[in-house]
């Protein structure tokens, strides 16, 4: 079955420097990542990682806002790079987004209605104004807002939580098949986070919208998704069923991350140890292998020499770590299939 949206072995490198190219600075933002969402059943996938992990880059690649240096993004089997205008419009209609900053997402020149009327004007130009207005009001109610208190106002006249909810409404307006949500609640107050995540999940359960939820907060990722992809400095380190990855993390980085989460339970304190992290140096001078090697408590010589492939575990998880080299190596198709498991 063709996937609805698929990133196949995409890499993205950013170069900066002059045209004359004397001192070009190369940053590898994403290194050989793969992700797929099927047409059905609708799923929720989390992409988790810290800053610099490449999660935002991956989301922007999947939204077609930037082009991959290697690999390609496919929508219903068609590569984004080869789409004509009609196919592109169909793709844009099916794949919507919610961004992190509820203020910057609005054009300060217009009232918030502009953000809601824009998609209708572009995708359904023939829709009569009255129907459009009714549709907008209906979707605002779905996300828990009152149209009379929201419409007609400028962005700065609404609170952060309201603005973000309007953004969710905008994304849901034309019933997309996928919503890519890039840290949708990190800039919103705790009391509102649940409400916003709830409306996203409701859309998923009632309308079959798939979600790609990008975050650095593993607790919300656990609550919201079925599958999770952990990224570290651009590489995939662990993928699979979210219960297994969170409750029983296999990759040393995932373990480090989970143990660092401040649990809201005073009886489970971090303990007085820790403090400084040991950063090891590669024996050969240059690290050609696993990106996590300098910080890994289980680092071995081979970790510096080559990057570990993805090893398959329990048929719904995979980890990129030589500690698991007794497990079978997964090829590209098998990695993609991991996302289909529920």
């Amino acid at each position: 079955m063709t996937a609805l949206l698929e990133a196949r072995n995409v890499s993205k490198t950013f170069t900066s420097g002059s045209i004359i190219g004397t001192s070009k600075h190369v940053t590898v933002a994403l290194d050989d990542a793969s992700l797929a969402i099927n047409t059905e059943p609708a799923t929720v996938i989390s992409i988790a990682g810290e800053s610099g992990s490449g999660k935002t880059t991956l989301s922007r690649l999947m939204l077609g806002l930037i082009k991959p240096t290697q690999g390609a993004i496919y929508h219903r089997g068609k590569s984004l790079a080869q789409m004509n205008r009609a196919e592109r419009m169909a793709y844009r209609r099916e794949v919507q987004a919610i961004f992190q900053d509820p203020f910057e997402a609005y054009n300060p020149f217009y009232i918030v209605d502009h953000a809601l009327t824009m998609p209708i004007e572009c995708f359904e130009p023939k829709m009569p104004k009255a129907t459009a207005r009714a549709l907008i009001e209906e979707v605002l109610v779905t996300v828990g807002l009152r149209p009379e208190e929201t419409l007609g106002r400028y962005p700065h006249q609404l609170s952060g939580g309201q603005r973000q909810r309007v953004m969710v409404a905008r994304a849901l307006l034309l019933k997309p098949s996928i919503i890519v949500a890039d840290e949708p609640v990190s800039m919103v107050d705790a009391s509102l986070r649940a409400t916003i995540l709830e409306s996203l999940l409701k859309a998923h359960e009632e309308w079959g919208v798939s979600l790609i939820y990008i975050t650095h907060d593993l607790t919300t990722a656990y609550q919201v998704s079925q599958t999770i992809l952990m990224l570290y400095q651009g590489s995939m380190v662990e993928v699979g069923n979210v219960d297994k990855v969170i409750k029983n993390p296999r990759h040393p980085y995932t373990q480090l991350l989970i143990s660092s989460i401040p649990l809201p339970d005073p009886k489970k304190r971090w303990g007085k140890g820790g403090g400084r992290e040991v950063i090891a140096k590669p024996p050969g001078g240059k690290n050609l292998g696993c990106k996590f090697a300098p910080r890994c408590p289980h680092v071995m010589t081979r970790c510096w020499e080559s990057q570990p492939p993805m090893y398959g575990l329990d048929d719904d998880c995979a980890v990129a770590c030589f500690l698991f080299d007794k497990s079978p190596v997964l090829d590209k198709t098998e990695i993609i299939n991991l996302y289909a498991r529920r």
Binding site: L65, R92, F99, D101, Y106, N107, A115, M118, P119, F123
Partner: protein, 282 residues
Amino acid sequence: MRTFLSYCRRNPQLAVGLIMFLALLLFWLIGPLVIDTDDARPMSALPDLSPSTEYPLGTDSTGRQLLPVLLQGTLYTLQIGLIAGSVGLLVGIILGFSAGYFGGILDTIVRTGADVILTIPTLAVLVVIASLIKDRLDPQNMAAVIALLAWMWPTRTIRAQVLTLRERPYVEIARLSGMGDVKIILKELLPNLLPYLAASFVGAVSAAILAAIGLEALGLGPQTDPTLGMTIFWSIYYGAILRGMWWWWAPPMAAISYVFIGLFMISWGLDELANPRLRRAA
């Protein structure tokens, strides 16, 4: 209207500048009704007359009455400034937006072109061009000549502004909503740059007037039309300073100073309006 007035109270520079220009506008509208511009022609009166009730600003050595000359001259000078400034800004908008938004080869060409021409001393080029076509110059050609070199700075600065706006999330949202590129430029980017463009316009007009007066003071301007700069040139040519004919060179200088102070105040006031720090006060 009320918000505009209360804003003027907070931004006195803009208010003063606008008032100055309003006064100038009145001068133009009412002036020709009171003063006959034909009197600005040579031999409309006896030459070298000092100011009197009949000739409030006296006459110059060619018999032009200087009060009408002041009226006519300010009109011409501002005409040159506005035409050259507008053309420069318009070209700047088209090139700056295209280069900034689309990037790539277009950007490299526009950017390199503007940068290269910017390094050439504009006055030198203008002097060469003006001296070549001196005898066929009138205020409109002057404007065209100056406009040739008025577009680079607006292009550069507008491009820079577009580059910062292009990455804003709301532009990306527009792209994700299926909006085409041209529509994004017109509907999403342009409205947010209006204060900046207004400030740029005032800057372009000031620069054009300065260039025009510079050329004219050297004699490289319309030979028969009494622009402010040419009046100063003729006053030097005829030795008005040595002859104590202050009514010839002082009024044009006062008029030029007034125009520049007015433009400066407006541009200072607009700077504050265009500053994004102000706009996020909520």
